[in-house]
């Protein structure tokens, strides 16, 4: 299957080289190249893509700001000449990191890494009324109605219910595709919440049983859309 890709990069020679690597691979179709975040967002919020090649430092907003403002979560490969961004890359669940200039071989490794099928990652469910999580060496059933919210902890996530917390090896990005979307909603790159459990919302925060959950700019409109506002 050929995946769609977009390049967000302000250095023309790097964008051209990336484009050529994509063509050579036969794995990716480049839908566009944008030299800054604003132009990229205009396109990306209209057309979803599978993979984003994203520079970090560009004129105006940074690559990380683009990820904050994007309404969905494509796979991301950062292309930068600064290794100092590795920590942020981890925070944003970036799939890989290409330090410019990079060889074609390194490019292919990165693409294969982010497009490889995701393992089951210790959670099984789809659109049912429960999920199973693997924790402490056993599978535990959690009813959707018992989960207040799910919080990212790097390579782990915390499932919070009214009286217990369960930690399991997984990511918010992976869970986003697995939880029942009628019950759950992503409000921030680090949080998925149970819509039925929201007590109140104040500006960019929502509250569930005394827990303060951030709502990012990118997710605010979707949160408001899901509420039964009269």
């Amino acid at each position: 299957m050929i995946l769609s890709a977009v390049i967000v990069e302000d250095l023309q020679v790097a964008a051209d080289y990336l484009h050529r690597c994509c063509q050579k691979s036969g794995l990716l179709e480049v839908k566009g190249h944008f030299p800054n975040v604003e132009e990229a967002l205009l396109y990306l919020n209209q057309q979803s893509v599978d993979l984003l090649f994203l520079d970090v430092e560009m004129p105006g907003a940074s690559g990380f700001e683009l990820l904050d403002r994007l309404a969905y979560s494509p796979k991301v490969i950062l292309t930068t000449s600064k290794t100092e961004y590795a920590y942020n890359a981890f925070e944003y669940n970036v799939g890989d990191f290409l330090k410019k200039p990079f060889t074609y071989q390194r490019f292919i490794e990165a693409v294969q890494k982010v497009t490889a099928p995701t393992p089951e990652n210790n959670v099984s469910s789809t659109a049912t009324d429960h999920i199973f999580i693997k924790t402490d060496g056993k599978l535990i059933r959690l009813n959707n109605s018992d989960i207040l919210f799910i919080e990212s902890m790097g390579d782990y996530v915390k499932f919070v219910s009214a009286d217990k917390k369960y930690i399991t090896h997984n990511t918010i990005k992976n869970l986003e595709e697995k939880v029942n979307r009628q019950c759950f909603l992503k409000t921030h790159r680090s949080y998925i919440i149970n819509v039925d459990k929201i007590d109140d919302i104040r500006e960019n925060l929502l509250f569930i049983k005394g827990n303060e959950i951030p709502i990012s700019k990118a997710h605010r409109s979707e949160v408001l859309r899901r509420l039964n506002i009269i």
Partner: protein, 132 residues
């Protein structure tokens, strides 16, 4: 049929790491010519901004432009110039006044102009080589 030792017929300037270039582009000299052209076009636009930022005492602006052009030197095999850009970029973060950067800036400026001059020569030679 493609000559497997074709790259031995084009000798790059000593300031260019040719092994690195071949690791990126193999022996595709047409593509190298494109890369040099694209890089020169962008450097023509960006270089004046460096001296403007320095004269305006704009350390952040200076750091941003040097950061932007740094990999362009990598893509064209000028690895020591790329490294000098990195060192200058790091220095921009450490200083608080532009005059602290002056010696390093003048040395970088000289190196940038020299590298671009060589890049122009190499581009012309590549063009000639590819037209043979």
């Amino acid at each position: 049929m493609k000559d497997p030792v074709l790259h031995k017929k084009f000798i790059f300037n000593d300031n260019i790491d040719s092994s690195f270039l071949f690791s990126l582009y193999e022996d595709d000299f047409q593509y190298m010519e494109e890369i040099f052209k694209t890089t020169l076009d962008q450097l023509d636009q960006e270089i004046p901004g460096i001296s403007t930022a320095f004269n305006d005492k704009d350390i952040t602006g200076l750091q941003k432009i040097v950061h932007k052009i740094k990999p362009a030197f990598g893509f064209t095999g000028f690895l020591s110039t790329e490294l000098a850009c990195k060192e200058f970029e790091d220095a921009c973060i450490e200083v608080s006044r532009i005059d602290e950067l002056a010696p390093l800036f003048h040395s970088l400026w000289t190196l940038l102009l020299k590298s671009i001059d060589i890049m122009h020569q190499q581009y012309d030679l590549l063009k000639e080589f590819n037209n043979q």
